[in-house]
């Protein structure tokens, strides 16, 4: 039984490790066009409803000097990597790219891409920061309609209400399965190591969501009864933009940490919120963003991220939180002092680590993580 699990896991992790090849395969096998979707949230449902394959674009371990033509060194490594890959031609197979304006860097990036990549169809869009007000909701709806029209042109297919509803159902099914998935795998820390957990979640960005959800369902049903947990594991929660590079996750594993939950933009933030299914399709998309609190990239009047993390720690009995700060990502940098204060008040240890997708040396990071492991047990768990 475990063998099937391992095979399924390997299939998905392979996809996440080599997304380029996976996307090309998917284009070939489905005959669909692919549309790149920038972080943080993109209207993937619209792409799907237009009969195309949405593909996540979250950088990678790409080094080079092409992006330096457009971006200073103090630009976040995810956006530098995306630009490097685009200039290198890695994205030539995409029929369009949706770039969203969540932060100042993204605003500039969409402009540079238009300049640097005249052959690429760039679809810039803006998500409303006033997510909960009437004017903001109306704007979002209009923005989805506008992008929908653009996508219809790219795909050559009309986005019918029916198609959009079907796409939304597929995406919400994906979201609810993932919610169950991250809870269930807590009981199998040896199988779902930090790296495996991350790669499994990441694979969703490079596959048809329906197929992906099916694979995750199969993994869930193939799991045997859980073994008793080894005593030495440190359950932790990751928060931030991305839990990469994977070598960072390996350091977690080496030091006996297991990720029991996350608040990463690339991971749980994608699926933790589901809107009312009975709403009309566009309202349903608007509503999901309106409900998505505690995210650094969406204006959050009450600034609920700290409280949310404290709840997560209570629910999961995690020992600590690791704040995965992508270097130069200012929305995340601004949240840190508040989260730090609130977690300290709640007596929850938190480790702040600065990450870049392309790290030359892991040594200081290793020391930090190992020290966290060394000090946690003395707190008497």
């Amino acid at each position: 039984m475990m063998e099937t699990t391992q095979e399924l896991i390997q299939e998905l992790t392979k996809i996440a490790e080599a997304p380029g090849a996976a996307v090309l395969d998917a284009i070939k096998s489905t005959g669909k066009k692919a549309v790149g979707c920038f972080p943080i949230y993109a209207p993937e449902e619209l792409v799907y409803a237009a009969g195309m394959l949405p593909v996540g674009m979250w950088g990678g371990n790409t080094k080079g000097n092409l992006a330096g033509k457009y971006l200073q060194i103090f630009c976040c490594s995810v956006m530098k990597a995306n630009t490097e890959q685009a200039l290198r031609g890695d994205y030539d197979g995409l029929s369009a790219v949706i770039i969203t304006a969540y932060c100042d860097t993204l605003k500039c990036l969409m402009e540079n891409w238009k300049a640097a990549l005249p052959g690429m169809k760039i679809l810039p869009m803006v998500y409303a920061q006033n997510r909960k007000t009437a004017s903001g909701r109306q704007y979002m709806k209009e923005e989805f309609l506008r992008i929908g029209k653009e996508l219809e042109k790219v795909g050559g297919t009309e986005i019918t209400d029916q198609a959009l509803k079907a796409a939304l159902d597929i995406y919400d099914d994906y979201r609810s399965v993932m919610q169950k998935f991250i809870v269930k795998i807590r009981k199998y820390p040896a199988v779902f190591t930090p790296r495996v957990r991350h790669l499994l979640i990441k694979a969703a960005y490079f596959m048809d969501k329906k197929d992906y959800t099916e694979k995750i369902r199969q993994i869930l049903s193939s799991l045997p009864a859980p073994e008793p947990l080894p005593a030495s594991r440190h359950p932790i929660i990751l928060t931030g933009l991305i839990g990469e590079p994977v070598e960072f996750l390996d350091l977690l594993q080496e030091n006996d940490f297991s990720v029991v939950a996350d608040d990463l933009a690339q991971e749980s933030r994608q699926f933790r919120t589901i809107a009312d299914r009975n709403l009309p399709p566009l309202d349903r998309m608007v509503e999901r963003i309106a409900l998505q609190d505690g995210c650094a990239f969406l204006y959050d009047e009450k600034k609920t991220r700290g409280a949310m993390l404290i709840d997560m720690v209570k629910q999961t009995e995690a020992q600590a939180v690791i704040y995965c700060q992508m270097k130069f990502c200012d929305p995340e940098e601004f949240d840190y002092p508040i989260v730090k204060k609130e977690l300290a008040q709640a007596g929850i240890p938190m480790l702040y680590v600065e990450l870049e997708q392309q790290m030359d040396s892991m040594e200081q990071l290793r020391t930090r993580i190992q020290t966290l492991a060394e000090i946690l047990p003395t707190r008497g768990r």
Partner: protein
């Protein structure tokens, strides 16, 4: 005999009054708002809410060389050194509440408009959270198309109306639409006079020393909706006209304006004097910058659509094509010899288009330019020696171009 005040004296007095009025208002229990520098202050002015501008205050702290204390306090609170230094200074000021550079009262209300960057949302969100006060956000979508779209205008106008409602709830008073009309009129007129004065630098030699733009900026931010502000810019304009009529340049008589450049981006406040002196040493007058247009917020009275469009048209909120056209036009209008681009560690929104803008403007105009590394308030991200080397290089390029033009 009553002496005629110079516009500079008046500027100083107005600013002092602006800050003392706000402190006084706070003492008397009146509401105080903290607002971003290019926000629709018309709403607050109409409501009679005293408004101070943390960006200006942070700049003043920087210019008075008081920033390090605040920067290190923020660092202690966990704010990364990579974050905007205005934010780092202000978030510390919020706790320390005193600076030799002058004080502002603690806010009761946060008024935030992201036409200057999304960073202000994060920064102000933290203030509202820490002080537990209401926050009004004006979300002015980034204009990736050349013009402000109708869809955006609808959204922005809707936000104005929602903000008015929220202000009525906060103050418990009705919004006076007649007064609003007046404030709209004054604000637009003040903007016009600000730009008229700044445009005096188009004359060669320029009667305006462009670094004065950095000084007067404080008033266009703080007092755009007031008749005092308007009077100041009228006076400044008249005095510049007088200088112009006499054929006077920016500096002492006989001191030649050899080169005319524009400064892209925010000043390096802690090094305002040294950067100015370095340029002046080489006969460089900074005749214009991106400042004159940033507060040229002009629209018809009672035209909310026009007001929405005007606020969204700030150049950093517009696309790269516009940025290139804008600077290209400045090169022609102001007869520029060169451009100095400030790669400002604090402002990613300005920085991350600079390389491409520089290339294209150079292709359009042939005017040489340099980029230097610096920061608006953090003295540790700037080196004067490096700055001077860049400026020297620019002088060499400008000189060569003049020679070549002479040979033709």
């Amino acid at each position: 005999m009553e002496e005629v005040k110079t516009s500079k004296q008046m500027l100083g007095e107005l600013l002092d009054k602006h800050y003392s009025d706000a402190l006084e208002a706070k003492k008397n229990g009146q509401l105080v708002a903290w607002a971003t520098s290019i926000s629709p202050q018309e709403l607050l002015t109409t409501m009679g809410i005293h408004t101070v501008y943390p960006e200006n205050h942070a700049a003043a702290i920087g210019a008075r060389k008081c920033a390090p204390e605040f920067i290190s306090h923020s660092k202690g609170n966990g704010y990364s050194v990579d974050i905007c230094s205005y934010a780092r200074v202000n978030l510390a000021y919020m706790e320390l509440l005193h600076s030799e550079a002058g004080d502002i009262p603690k806010p009761d209300l946060i008024f935030c408009c992201n036409n200057i960057c999304n960073t202000v949302i994060k920064w102000y969100e933290n203030i509202a959270k820490e002080l537990n006060i209401p926050m009004i956000v004006f979300d002015l979508p980034f204009n990736h198309e050349y013009e402000v779209s109708k869809q955006d205008v609808r959204y922005i106008k809707g936000q104005f109306l929602e903000a008015i409602q929220k202000l009525e709830e906060i103050t418990g008073r009705k919004f006076d639409y007649d007064k609003f009309g007046e404030v709209m009129k004054i604000s637009s007129e003040t903007s016009v006079w600000w730009k008229k004065a700044a445009m005096k630098a188009m004359t060669k030699p320029s009667p305006l020393n462009g670094f004065d733009l950095f000084n007067y900026m404080a008033t266009i931010v703080c007092m755009r909706g007031t008749t005092e502000g308007m009077d100041l810019f009228k006076l400044w304009y008249e005095q510049l006209c007088e200088k112009e009529a006499k054929g006077l340049g920016p500096w002492k008589p006989g001191e030649e304006e050899k080169y005319r450049v524009m400064w892209d981006g925010i000043a390096c406040w802690p090094y305002l004097g040294p950067t100015y002196k370095t340029l002046r040493k080489y006969g460089i007058n900074m005749v214009t910058s991106t400042y004159p247009d940033s507060w040229y917020i002009v629209y018809e009275q009672n035209d909310l659509d026009g007001m929405a469009r005007a606020y969204s048209s700030n150049y950093v909120n517009r696309n790269l094509d516009f940025g290139v056209d804008n600077i290209t036009k400045l090169v022609k209008d102001y007869q520029l010899d060169g451009i100095v681009y400030h790669s400002n560690r604090s402002c990613k929104l300005m920085d991350f288009r600079q390389f491409e803008v520089q290339r294209r403007v150079e292709a359009n105009t042939g005017v040489p330019s340099v980029i230097f590394d610096g920061d608006q308030t953090d003295p540790s991200a700037f080196s004067l020696a490096q700055f001077e080397t860049r400026i020297q290089a620019l002088v060499e390029m400008m000189e060569k171009r003049k020679q070549m033009a002479g040979e033709k």
